[in-house]
Amino acid sequence: MAEAARMTLLNCPSEIQVGIADLKVGGEPAVLVTLGLGSCVGVTLYDPVQKVGGLLHIMLPKMSDFTRGRVKPAKFADTGIPLLLQEVLGLGASRRLLEAKIAGGAQMFSGLDKSFVMNMGNKNVDAVRETLRELRIKIAAEDVGGKNGRTMILYTATGRVVIRIRGTQLKEI
């Protein structure tokens, strides 16, 4: 991950894609983007003074709830957020200035039988909030729940976070 972070810094000016179960950080003015947040949750951490930040795309609440697939810490809220924290601190962020913004956790499908979805969106949002609370990082803004998928964009020059819904509608949080 440290290697990924360095590469991010070197290549920065254009958009940097953050995949599913992935995280990226940036210090130079960078644009970090994650696509396809449905019941997944995107988390940004940003230091407005140092102007460094990072974006994480988690899929599942807690690593400890699963016995398999524990290869990627960035897949889970409770292991991904500490990793993101470590990475932004590594870029010189000051821990007490860090602010989080979160987006995602939608319930995308409508119909009669919702049991299998297990309300994963809500569980993800709850786990993200809990992990941030444990790390004493305040949530500055959020756009969670609802039915629609989201794209989340972090501009590290300003800390602006923009949400794109259905490919076109934009909203800043």
Partner: protein
């Protein structure tokens, strides 16, 4: 894993052939299908194999349970979804964002027909029980749909089996993708059945993979 890809592709092939026949009857039209592409794909690459992450698509999602459990997902481009509904209801459809209950249920029914026939074929071939649940619908960004559907498999593995095929209605350009994401235990079950069948056909013992864990 790789030696199973061909046979999984064949399972997909038979299933999709059946589904196409059912859809053709349902629509009284000719349906073409492509040979399914079957592959193990890292989670983060799944939607890049299908289209653009922010592309808007109509999606019908079904949870299936039984011996062979997982998620079945049908994706239709907006124009195709509208065309399908219009054909069945015999009247044009407005924006897909504002489907009424009737229009939505037409798409769900198409999902039912396709999935039922697909799974019947797979079930007959493998002797495994497969029980589809009620279909769900959404119209949204491709990436978000795929990721959320994967979560319905308990998505804790880093690779998924992707069986992708395209259904094409000749004449008016209706096309759609069918994707099958297995629950991970279910994939082991299927591979075991297929291994035994292969042994029976070939008359030789095929070594069991040390689990199908990756």
């Amino acid at each position: 894993m790789e030696q199973y890809v061909d046979i999984l592709q064949e399972v997909g092939n038979i299933g999709i052939g059946n589904a196409a026949t059912a859809l053709a009857e349902f629509l009284s039209a000719k349906i073409k299908v492509t040979v399914p592409q079957t592959d193990f794909v890292p989670v983060e690459e799944v939607f890049t194999r299908i289209g653009r992450a922010e592309e808007l698509v109509a999606a019908i999602l079904l949870r299936v349970d039984g011996d062979l459990s997982g998620m079945v997902l049908f994706l239709f481009p907006e124009a195709s979804a509208r065309e399908l509904i219009a054909q069945i209801l015999g009247q044009p459809v407005a924006a897909i964002q504002e489907l009424d209950d009737m229009e939505e249920s037409v798409l769900l029914e198409i999902g039912n027909v396709l999935t039922g026939s697909f799974l019947n074929a797979v079930s007959a071939m493998t002797q495994l029980t497969i029980i589809p649940a009620v279909p769900l619908f959404t119209f949204d960004m491709l990436g978000a749909i795929i990721n959320s559907s994967l979560l319905g498999t308990g998505m804790v593995e880093d690779q998924v089996l992707l069986i992708k095929t395209v259904l094409l209605q000749e004449g008016n350009g209706v096309s759609g993708d069918l994707l099958f994401f297995f629950d991970i235990g279910a994939l082991d079950t299927l591979l075991n059945v297929l291994r035994i069948q292969l042994e029976n056909i070939s008359g030789r013992v095929i070594p069991c993979e040390a689990g199908t864990d990756r």
